[in-house]
Symmetry: C2
Amino acid sequence: MKISNNLFFGPIDNLNSQSFFQILIIRLIFCYDPLLKENNLTNLTLIGLGLHDENGISLQGLEKAKRATYVFAEFYTNYMPAIKISNLEKLIGKQVKILSRKEVEDHAQEKILIHAKKYPCVFLTPGDPNIATTHIDLRLRAEKEGIRTSIIHSASISSAIAGATGLQNYKFGRTVTIPFKSTSISEIPYENIFENKSRGLHTLALLDINSESHLFMSIPEGLTIIIEMEERLRKRCTTKNTLAIGVARLGSPDASVKAGTIENLQRFNWGDPPHCIAFPGKLHFMEIEALKILCKADPELFEI
Amino acid sequence: MKISNNLFFGPIDNLNSQSFFQILIIRLIFCYDPLLKENNLTNLTLIGLGLHDENGISLQGLEKAKRATYVFAEFYTNYMPAIKISNLEKLIGKQVKILSRKEVEDHAQEKILIHAKKYPCVFLTPGDPNIATTHIDLRLRAEKEGIRTSIIHSASISSAIAGATGLQNYKFGRTVTIPFKSTSISEIPYENIFENKSRGLHTLALLDINSESHLFMSIPEGLTIIIEMEERLRKRCTTKNTLAIGVARLGSPDASVKAGTIENLQRFNWGDPPHCIAFPGKLHFMEIEALKILCKADPELFEI
């Protein structure tokens, strides 16, 4: 048992009124803080929220969040189109503190770790935690301070892309991200798609986002960059007639998955973000079937 | 409105007694089956159960399963160490019909599709659905019969491996499966690890399972096969001194993640399945930090 440093006004501001008074009474009578854990048990659990809205969290993740003293979240590593923080707070039964990139990357110490040293905390992230480098960094910093960390995994575009398109998971090569155009265009995504293709492998291309300025690259924008690269490097890897698959809002009830030529997909109206693209490598006959049936590809595309 | 072919003894055997009698009364009085949906709404939803036990299902997946008339499940594509079917049935509120590989692959028509044509059905799978070819095949067969299908994604080893080890997700090349030894050993996994490594990429190696005979390849067994390949092909890709990471029971509270030389990992006591292995490619300094801190790698391994 340890006495809280901040016995009466400790982390109970994020509880509902009933729990607030229960904990206050225990603190007053027993000089003991039921929210405080022994140091060797304090921890930081990263919990994935999945792809679409607050209902993508697993039962295990929700249970852990309910038991935490503090619940943090970030929404800058990915875009969850339909998440409602008020619903998430209702599910968990406590306030969710949303942190910006700057707060997580530059001020983790005072925003998160100081609490996680004393109290069980959870950190909610879109998709599956630790796909983003920023989460690994946070976890390493916590562990270096003696805070035990763990992850409760959830759905991620990295594995969901196989199910959504019918392309076989073990045939995906490395994933690429197509960044927004800056002064120069990076050749890396194109080179990686080319390398994967030359080994017969598929490529998942994630599209850049800038959540702070609410900018999300669309499928046509991503394809335009890839076509520009093709025109510059001319490896006949992604021409206008190359087959690709656009995937919009995966995991949502109005998800859109469509295979066609790049030219085709550039003209299609994809709707709201997030978007991503799959560039197929060598196709197995069952994958061709899946592209026709699940991704509405024109059968003529596969005729020799 | 449609009258069920099987009005009194239709799919109500999997309900609790209260719902059973409610539905029976509605059927008797109105000659209408409330479980039956209009044909254009009937569907088959594949729902992922995640990595460890029944609490890996998302809230969205659970809600969908509760609303389904029939709930099917398979546990032959992967092993979920702690799943309790009775708990799963309690969560969903109805019977879960577990199907064998033979039933799904050879008898999908009479076991699943015949019901999904009339009633909303869900099919629960370990991990994230459609990572396994057998799920894509089921989905294609359903769609060909006019049954609308969809997926509710969940955690998969394919993306969780990045979080568990701290290796960066976008640096993983193609995934391999190390099969049980038969008359000849396949060289494909070794060749793929070599190809990934020569591009600086990491490899996730899944280990074969035969759930019907309850056989699960262990990390030491998988490594022994890879060492045998090394001795045969001699590309200096996976020698006894090569760094690898063993991952056992990912997603469970007693998960074990350990980096070390292959020789090291072969001697380690990994406990219960499922196991898998990651073979790192070129390491970034933050990945090295992660291997030391999260995967308990000996710091001497990284000294030059």
